[in-house]
């Protein structure tokens, strides 16, 4: 704003302080203008924000999945693992019940986990787990599953199979944006914090911008340089408003073993009878 003091108008003399004031005003105007101009352009999310969005995208009150895993060794021989799982996170606990359908050695084995919400897959001390062994017709309480051990002999660990860890357990850095297969992705590097040990030294995740799902993940060993496993999404699926990774392949770089995991059927947000998440259901396979 130009200041027209009566003195300047009357004297028509350019005084230094007036010039400086004009420059200051012009600068302020430019600065304010630039500020408003910048605010109108979307900012790139941070790595933590992207991972939080991905975590949020996977949250659902209930889910039911029919899953088939195909284990493929380096020679091409395959074996099938089939199981169905129900998850109920609608209350203050997360309850999961799983029934194994194949192979024969575990068929009709049923597994129940009850966790305080937010702790599943992370703090084993807060999980209660039971297993039903059909050969014994008996339900047994067991210690919380080893997060870092192989799930049914596959290339997935129990931690890989569980819910995504709390975003705050790792430091996340946005590395950039890339195309991964047909997906347009953010690329985020995640390094576990010292007080939250992980089986992996770091992970690099490609997150699809549309669905906020991980479509490619590199899992590094503790040296953070050697890739231990690689996961690639071959197909996404959509159930109502929910996106999910319908088909993924996990490859173990050390021995070339691969695991193809397919979600054959899925239901999100359906009402589930709480009777499924009980030892009575484990014992009988019948829900009240």
């Amino acid at each position: 704003m130009v200041s027209n003091t009566p003195e300047i108008v009357r004297r028509k003399i350019i005084r230094p302080e007036i010039i400086l004031r004009k420059i200051a005003v012009i600068f302020i105007a430019f600065t304010l203008g630039s500020f408003f101009a910048v605010s109108a352009v979307p900012t790139t999310p941070t790595g933590a924000e992207i991972m939080q969005n991905m975590s949020n995208a996977q949250q659902t009150t209930t889910s039911a999945m029919d899953i088939q895993m195909t284990l493929i060794d380096a020679g091409g021989d395959t074996s099938i693992r089939r199981f169905q799982t129900l998850v109920d996170s609608s209350g203050d606990q997360t309850k999961t019940v799983t029934v194994f359908l194949s192979p024969e050695s575990v068929k009709n084995t049923r597994f129940l986990t009850i966790s305080d919400s937010g702790s599943q897959g992370r703090d084993q001390g807060q999980d209660s787990q039971w297993i039903y062994l059909p050969a014994l017709r008996k339900v047994k309480r067991i210690s919380a599953g080893e997060r870092d051990s192989s799930f049914m002999g596959s290339d997935f660990t129990y931690a890989d199979m569980g819910d995504i860890d709390d975003v705050e357990t790792s430091d996340h850095t946005l590395l950039g944006e890339e195309q991964a297969a047909q997906f347009n992705c953010y690329v985020v590097e995640s390094i576990p914090r010292p007080d939250n040990p992980s089986a992996y030294g770091k992970t690099v995740t490609w997150i699809d911008k549309e669905s906020w799902l991980a479509v490619r993940v590199l899992f590094y060993q503790s040296d953070r340089e050697t890739v231990q496993k690689e996961l690639n999404c071959e197909a996404l699926g959509r159930s109502g408003d929910e996106w999910y990774t319908r088909k993924v392949v996990m490859e173990n770089k050390a021995d070339g073993h691969r695991t193809l995991m397919e979600i054959l059927q899925v239901r999100f947000g359906i009402p589930l009878n709480p009777g499924y998440f009980t030892t009575a259901y484990l014992e009988t396979g019948k829900v009240r």
Binding site: A64, D66, L71, S79, Q84, L86, V99, L101, S102, P103, E104, S105, K107, N108, Q124, G125, S128, W130, P134, L136, R137, K140, R141, I142, S143, A144, E146, D148, S149, S150, G153, A235, G237, R238, S239, G240, R246, H257, E262, I263, L264, Q265, V266, R267, G269, I270, P271, L272, N273, P274, G275, Y276, F277, T278, T279, A280, T284, K286, V287, R288
Partner: protein
């Protein structure tokens, strides 16, 4: 007959059929971008307190009757080690087949055991009906009745509070405790308590004792030393009826159970009756001693618990057996006693290694002054206290295709041991090969009874092939 049975087509209903439909008819319902939800949500899967606001699901067709067959068939070849190159080799077919018929609200369970009935080179197979019972579901629980095996207690290697089924040691010490349990005719009512608790009421119309071989390689006691042993009493009568009750559930982070049993101990006692047969009362040869078998009735009050903390699982049982022989004066009856079990499981973090240790103990009351023929004296070793330690270590390798297990049992007072190493190779999802062995032995128990000492010449190695159905 077995092959004919297996040739019937079976239709298995497994998994959450109310949600996904029958396994045999299920397929993928989701394609990229497709919405699979349509149809009505079955009432049986809904929380009755929530409003059904979700899009409906297709209603799977309700099957009228489904059947499933499971089990394993195979054979073992056992080489005993007691006589060098002249040691006995035994080839045995083995396995079990389970049948489940399920109508939705009721079930029939049957299990056949396949054992070797071979004698002197004759290749015959023996089919044993190991279980046959029906189960019917009601809103408050379920009822089952028939020839059944019920396992109570939290222990892995043994139990202090598992009184319903007798054990069989006719073929030595079993690989799996539950394999040694003999089915009993019983009826059980199961009443739900909340979602994780139940009350069980059990009635057994008669009684069967512990089974031991009285001849052959696995004979554990020389009953021929008992003078004029009479046939055991007929125990399939109302006089030998038994009953039990148990309440179990989850409290906090623990599984708890309380039980009461009124019935018989499975171990026999003996009555020795000496009769004068004349003519000379001063001549010992004119007396005849007869041995009769007796079983002790009493009450068992017990408790069990299991809890997990991190990679540890803790198991415990405790029971008080109140004998009908209250003052311990009847030699043919077992005295009252206290029994307990304590065990810990541990999975080494970051590995597939699983460890288990258990201690099973018993303390006989009114032990002092018992005669050598007393039912309790025969099974203890100059001490009212008997302890059995069991430990096992197990690990899997190569994506769970190789499993290695080493287990051992040690009878502390009897100084008896049993060691079982084993390696299992899962060739594929249906076929597995097991190489294992048993080392057994112990100190001479004198007048007492020690099965490990009796079996001290029965060390063996064995290879088993099993096909999983």
């Amino acid at each position: 007959m077995l092959m004919i049975w297996l040739s019937f087509s079976v239709y298995a209903e497994d998994g959450f059929t109310e949600i996904f439909g029958p396994e045999s008819q299920s397929g993928t319902d989701s394609q990229s971008g497709a919405d699979p939800q349509s149809g009505a949500v079955p009432q049986s899967i809904m929380n009755p307190q929530s409003a059904p606001a979700q899009p409906s699901l297709p209603i799977p067709a309700a099957p009228s009757l489904t059947a499933s067959i499971s089990g394993e068939l195979g054979f073992s070849h056992r080489l005993f080690l007691d006589d060098g190159w002249n040691s006995e080799q035994v080839f045995s077919p083995e396995g079990s087949i389970s049948l489940l018929l399920d109508s939705g609200s009721s079930e029939l369970h049957a299990r056949l055991g396949i054992n070797d009935a071979q004698s002197a080179g004759d290749r015959t197979i023996q089919l044993d009906l190991e279980e046959l019972f029906i189960r019917s579901y009601f809103p408050f629980g379920f009822v089952d009745a028939g020839l059944m095996v019920i396992a109570w207690g939290t222990g892995e290697s043994g139990h202090a509070v598992d009184p319903l089924n007798p054990l069989s040691y006719k073929s030595g010490f079993p690989d799996n405790l539950n394999d040694a349990k003999q089915a009993e005719l019983m009826a059980r009512i199961n009443l739900y308590l909340g979602y994780n608790g139940k009350v069980e009421l059990v009635y057994l119309p008669f009684f069967h004792p512990l089974l031991m071989a009285d001849s052959g390689r696995w004979a554990a006691a020389d009953t021929s030393a008992l003078p004029n042993l009479q046939d055991p009493p007929v125990t399939e009568t109302w006089e030998y009826a038994q009953a039990a009750a148990r309440i179990s559930g989850t409290v906090g982070g623990m599984d708890l159970g309380l039980l009461y049993f009124y019935g018989f101990r499975h171990e026999p006692g003996y009555t020795f009756t000496t009769t004068f047969t004349g003519p000379d009362p001063m001549d010992p040869n004119d007396y005849t001693t007869t041995t009769t078998t007796a079983y002790t009735r009493g009450h068992l009050i017990g408790a069990e618990a299991a809890a997990a903390a991190g990679p540890f699982t803790f198991r415990g049982e405790a029971g008080f057996w109140l004998s009908e022989d209250r003052d311990g004066s009847e030699a043919h009856l077992c005295n009252s006693r206290i029994e307990w079990l304590a065990g810990i499981d541990y999975r080494i973090p970051g590995t597939t290694v699983f460890l288990m240790v258990e201690e099973l103990g018993s303390y006989v009351l009114q032990y002092d002054g018992l005669s050598a023929q007393d039912a309790d004296r025969m099974r203890t070793y100059d001490s009212a206290l008997t302890n059995t330690l069991t430990a096992a270590a197990e690990a899997s390798f190569a994506r769970e295709t190789i499993n290695v297990r080493l287990s051992g049992t040690y009878l502390v007072e009897a100084e008896g041991y049993l060691i079982k190493p084993e390696v299992t190779w899962r060739i594929d999802d249906n076929l597995q090969l097991t190489l294992g062995g048993t080392l057994v032995g112990g100190a001479d128990p004198g007048d007492s009874f020690s099965p490990f000492y009796a079996w001290r010449d029965n060390d063996y190695i064995e290879i088993t092939a099993s096909f999983l159905l």
